[in-house]
C-alpha cells in the first residue's frame, strides 16, 4: 500500500505498508508443534513526514507458526504480529472493501480505515502479470488504486488526524526477476483528476528497460487503458546518493505521448531509503505535469530496487 495523506492543517504524510509471505519449502512442514511452519512473513512499514522532511521505516519477520503471523481468506486478514490489514465488513462479491490497517514502531504508528472508491483492477492478462520471459517470472496481481483513507498517524508520540487516499496492490509470485534483469522502477501515481497511473519498468543488467515493462491507466469511471513499454518515455532528471554512496534516481520525466501525458515526478523527501535486509528506495513523490493540454498535479509512490 502506498498512500498519500494530509491533516486538516495541511501537514502532509505518506505511508507504505507491505506484508510479504514466503514459503521456504513446497512440502508442508511435517512437524506437529504449534510452531511448525514453512512460511515466513516479512513486513515493511514506512511513514514519510513530508512537512518535516523525515522518513521512518521498520522491518519485521515472523513465522506463521503459533499464529504469530498469517493470512486468512474468509473475512480477509493478513497480519504479522500486531501489524495487520483486516477487512472490517463482510461483503458480497460486488461490494467494495472496507479495510482497517494498523502498524506501529517505536516512533511511528498508523491506524486507518480504507474504503475503496473504485473497483478492483486486475493487472496484466486478467490478473497474470508477466515480468520476464521465463515461466514463473510472473505474478498474479490486482490493485485497488484509490481508497479513501481516514484515521490517525502518531509520530514521536504526537497524534495527527489524517485523511487522504491509499493504493493497495496484492501480488502472488514465485520469483521476481529473471537472470538478465537487475531490478525495477515502479510508479504508482494518483493524479488529481481522479485518474491513476501505474507503470513499472523492469531494468536489465545493462540498465536498459526490459520489454516486459508495462503500465495501466485507471480512469475516473474505473475503465482501464493498458500501456506498453514502447509508448512510454521515462527520463531520469535528478539523482540522489545514499549514505552508503549508491546512486538512486531522484526525479523523472514520464511521458506517454499516445495518452497525452507528460509528468514531472520528484521525491517528496529525498531520503526514503529502506535500510533493511534488502535495501531499496520507496517513497512518496510529488507530481506536476500536463495531461491533454491541461496542467495537472498529483501524489504517488515510487519503488526502486536493484541499485
Amino acid at each position: 500500500m502506498k498512500k498519500y495523506l494530509k491533516t486538516s492543517d495541511n501537514k502532509k504524510f505518506g505511508y507504505q505498508f507491505t506484508i510479504f509471505r514466503t514459503s521456504l519449502s513446497s512440502d508442508k512442514n511435517s512437524g506437529t508443534s504449534e510452531w511448525s511452519s514453512n512460511q515466513i512473513y516479512m513486513a515493511h512499514f514506512t511513514v514519510t513526514d513530508i512537512s518535516n522532511d523525515k522518513f521512518y521505516f521498520d522491518e519485521r519477520f515472523s513465522r506463521d507458526g503459533n499464529e504469530l503471523a498469517g493470512a486468512q481468506v474468509n473475512s480477509f486478514k493478513v497480519w504479522l504480529e500486531d501489524w495487520e490489514i483486516i477487512e472490517t465488513q463482510n461483503r458480497t462479491a460486488f461490494d467494495l472493501p472496507v479495510i482497517n490497517v494498523r502498524a506501529k514502531t517505536d516512533k511511528a504508528e498508523i491506524n486507518f480505515i480504507l474504503e475503496s472508491l473504485k473497483p478492483v483492477v486486475l493487472q496484466g492478462e486478467k490478473g497474470l502479470s508477466q515480468k520476464g520471459s521465463q515461466r514463473g517470472n510472473a505474478s498474479y496481481y490486482y490493485s485497488y488504486t484509490n481508497l479513501k483513507t481516514d484515521g490517525k498517524i502518531i509520530i514521536e508520540g504526537k497524534e495527527f488526524k489524517v485523511s487522504g487516499n491509499s493504493w493497495m496492490d496484492r501480488e502472488w509470485s514465485t520469483s521476481a526477476l529473471s537472470e538478465d534483469q537487475k531490478g525495477w522502477d515502479w510508479f504508482a501515481l494518483q493524479l488529481d483528476d481522479t485518474t491513476e497511473l501505474m507503470y513499472y519498468q523492469m531494468r536489465r543488467n545493462d540498465g536498459s528497460p526490459d520489454d516486459f515493462s508495462k503500465g495501466i491507466i485507471v480512469n475516473k469511471d474505473g475503465s482501464l487503458e493498458q500501456i506498453k513499454k514502447d509508448e512510454v518515455n521515462l527520463i531520469i532528471t535528478d539523482n540522489w546518493n545514499s549514505p552508503a554512496g549508491v546512486k538512486y534516481p531522484a526525479g523523472w520525466n514520464l511521458r506517454i505521448p499516445s495518452k497525452n501525458i507528460d509528468l514531472k515526478i520528484n521525491p517528496a523527501v529525498s531520503d526514503q531509503l529502506l535500510d533493511v535486509s534488502i535495501k531499496y528506495w520507496e517513497g512518496s513523490v510529488n507530481i506536476e505535469g500536463i495531461r491533454n493540454g491541461l496542467n495537472i498535479s498529483g501524489r504517488g509512490y515510487v519503488e526502486m530496487t536493484g541499485y
Binding site: 521456504l24 512442514n29 512437524g31 510452531w35 515472523s62 507458526g65 503459533n66 504469530l68 500486531d82
Partner: protein, 844 residues
Amino acid sequence: MNSLTKSSLRYLFKHPWQFGLSVLGIAMGVAIVVSIDIANFSSSRAFNLSLDAVAGKATHQIIGNSDGIPDSFYRSLRIDNGIKNIAPVIESYVSIPDSGRRVFKLLGVDLFAERPFRDYLSETGSSIDGVFKDLFTKPNSIILSEDNLKKLNRTIGDSILVQINGKEKFLVISGFIKEDENNRSALENLFITDIASAQQLTEKKDHIDYIDVIIKNESEEKMLVDLLPDGFVLQQSGLRSQTAEQMLDAFNINLTSLSLLALIVGLFLIYNTMTFSVIQRRVLIGTLRSIGVTSGEISGLILKEALIIGILGTIAGFAAAYFISKFLLTIVSQTINDLYYVVSVREIYISPAIIIKGIALGVIATLLSALKPAKEASGVHPRSAMIRSEQESSLLKKIPRMTFAGMLFIIAGAVTLIIPSKNVWLSYFGILPVIIGFALLTPVVIILVEKIFSPLYKKLFGITGKMSSRSILQNISRTYISIAALALAVAATVGVGTMVSSFRSTVIDWLETRLNADVFISAPSLISRRNDAVLNEDILDKIKAIDEVRDFNFYREVELLQEGKRYHLLASGLSKRSYSGFKFKEGDPDEAWKRFEDGEIFLSEPFAYRYDLNVGSMLTLKTDNGMRDFKVAGIYYDYASDQGLITIQYEHFKKFWNAKGFSGISVFVKDENSIGTVKDKIQSLETGGQQLIVRTYKFLRDSSVEIFDRTFLIAKVLQILSVIVAFIGILSSLMSLQLERKRELGILRANGLLPSQLFLMVNLQTLLMGFTAGLIALPLGNILAAILIYIINKRSFGWTMQFDILPGILAEAMILALVAAVLAGIYPGYKMSRTSPVNALREE
C-alpha cells in the same frame, strides 16, 4: 648482589635437601589449593558460560508455571500487547550414546525473534544461510559449531542418535556455525534447533520453557510484570546462574578448606625449615651481629630466604596445579553432574583471583610462617659468636608455658566453634586454634613418650636405643615441629576418613530404611541424584495392571524458582507402606502423616536448616496459581540432596500445580520371589519409545552408595595429597636433624659405633617420632572428625550424622604415621651411617 645475600643463598644451596623439600612442600600446598580453585572455577565458569550463551543479551526471563509457559501467552505478549524484545526458549539436554554419552544443551529458539538476543545466531547469519531453511522447515534439524561437527565426525545432512528425556530420537544436522573468539564458549556444548523442533522433541505440548526479555527501563518492567498471570515471574537473567552457584557454595567451601589443610601442612614445613636454618646458623648469625649487622638486617635476611622459597614454591606449585587441576576437574565435574546440574567442562579457566590467592598463599603465607624464625634470628645474641653451641634448654624451659598456651588455643577454638552461626568459614576459623593448640601440646607429649620409652628402648636396644630416644628430647626444638606436622597430616586423614565413613554409614542406614519398595522405575536422567526426566502418566496404569504388583508409590519432582531461590518440591503419591521409611527429626509421626494427608508439607532436614523452618512454620511457595502458604507438618531426615527437599502429597500438589508426568515410580511386589518377573514385565511394557530404568532395591541401594563414594573421591585424593606434603615435611626435618647431628654421630662413629648401629639408631628415633605423632593424631583426628560432622557439615548442609570412632581408621592412621616416619628416616639414616667419622668431627 651483596655479600650478605650471597651468603644466605649459598647456605640454601649448601643444604639442597632442606631447601628443595621446603620448595616442594610449598609447591604441593599451593598446587593443591590452586588446582582445587581452578577445578571449582572452571566448572562453575563452564556452567555460567553455557547459561550466558543461552541467555545472550536477555536482561530478564519470564518464568512460567511448573509446566512452562503456554504458546498463547507468548503470542498475546507479541500481538495483543505489541511487545517486541521477547524471544521464546525451550531448553533441554541431550546425550549422545555413541559419543561417550557426551551431553549437549539443546536450545530451541525462534530465529525471527532472536536478532536482539543471541549474537552468534544473528551476526553470523550469513554463514548459516544455506541451511537456515532446513532448520526451519524440517523437524529435528539442528545447527552446531563447526568444531563439534568435526568432533562428532559428521557432515551436514547426517543424523545423530540422541537420548532426550529417556527417549531416543534422531537429530539431523542442517548446518554449522564457524566459531570465533566471541562465540566459542557459547557454542561449546550447544545444539541449536528451531523452537518447533524443540517443542516436539521435549514433548512440551503447546508450552515453551521461558521467555527471554530485554528490558530497558523500570516502566517497561512494570508494564510487563502487570501483564503476567499468577504464578509467572519476571526475573533477572543473572539469577539463574546465581542460584546455580549458590547450590555449589557449600560444596566449594568444603573443597577449598580441604585444600587449605594441605597448605597448612606445607606452612608447618616452611616454619620448620626456617627455624632449623636459624638454629643451625646461630654462631654465624652471632658473628654477623658482632661485626655490626643489625638485627633488622638479620631478620630481613631470613625473610628474604623465605621469600625465595615462597616464590620458587609458588611457581612450581602453579606449574603442578595445571596438571593436577585437569585431573581434579574430571572428579569435580563428575560430582556436580551427579548431584547438582548438567555441566560439561573441557577447558581450564583461571581467574586473576585464583592467581592472586595462589600467590598470596604461597608467598605471603610463607613469609608469615617465617616471621617467627626471623624474629628468633634477629634475637640471636652477638655473644653466640663466642660460644660453640647453643643449648636446647631454652625450649625445655618454655614447655610449661607452651602447654598452657596450647590449652588456651584449644579452648579458644572450642569457643569459636560453639558460637551459634551458619557461617562455615567461622567454623573453619575455629579449627585453626585447635590445630595450633595440639601443635603446642606436642612437646609435653614428647616428654611423656620419652619418659616411657627411654627405659624400654634401653632394655631392648641397649645404649644406642636409649640415645635415639633421648636425642628426640635433646633436640626438642626441632623434633617437635616435625612431629607436629606429621601429626597434623595424619589427623587430617583420620578426621576426613572418619567423617566420610560416618557419613557413609548414616547414608546407608537411611537408604535401607527409605528404599523400602522392591522395584524402582524412572526415566534415564542426566543428573544421578535427581530425576529430571519425566515418565508419562499412563505408565503407572500399566504397572498397576501387572498381577504381581501389590502396591506402589509415585512421585513428581519440580523445581520452583522463586525470589532468587531454587526449591525442589517432591510431590509424593505414597502408599502407607512407605510411611515407615520416613524418620522424623521434628514432629510426632502419626500427627505429621495425618496433617500431610490434609495438605501440609514435610521438609527435609537440610531444607529446614537452610531456611530456619520448624514444624508449624509457614512456607510460601510459587504455585501455578500464584504464591501460597503451606504449613510444615514434619521435618524428616534425608540425605538425598544437600539443597533440601519439600514434600507434599501428590493429590494436594495437583491442586496447585499443572506439572504432568512422574519423576519416579516404585513398586511393592506380592511375593519376593517375583521381583525378577515384575522387573521384566515392566521392562517389556509398551511405552511409546519411553526408556525406563528399572532397578531392584539392591541395585538402587548399591548404585546410590556408588555415587556417594564418587562424591567423596575428591576428599580421598586431597587426603592423600596432604599426607604426601606431610611426608615431605617429616623427611625434610629428619634430614636436617640428622645432618645437624653429623658431629655428634661422628663422635659415636669415632668411638666405635658400626654404620649399621648408627642406621638403626636413626631409625629407632624416627620410629619413635612417628609413634609420638600418631599418638597426637588419633585424638586430634577424632576431634577434627567430630568438628566436621557436628559443626561443619551441619552448618554447610544441615545434616545430622552419626559419629563412629572407627578402630580401623585409627589403626591405619598409626601405621601411616609409623611408616611415614620410618620411610623418612631411611635415607638420612643411610646417609649418616656412611659418614666417615673424620668428616663428622671436622670443623665446619
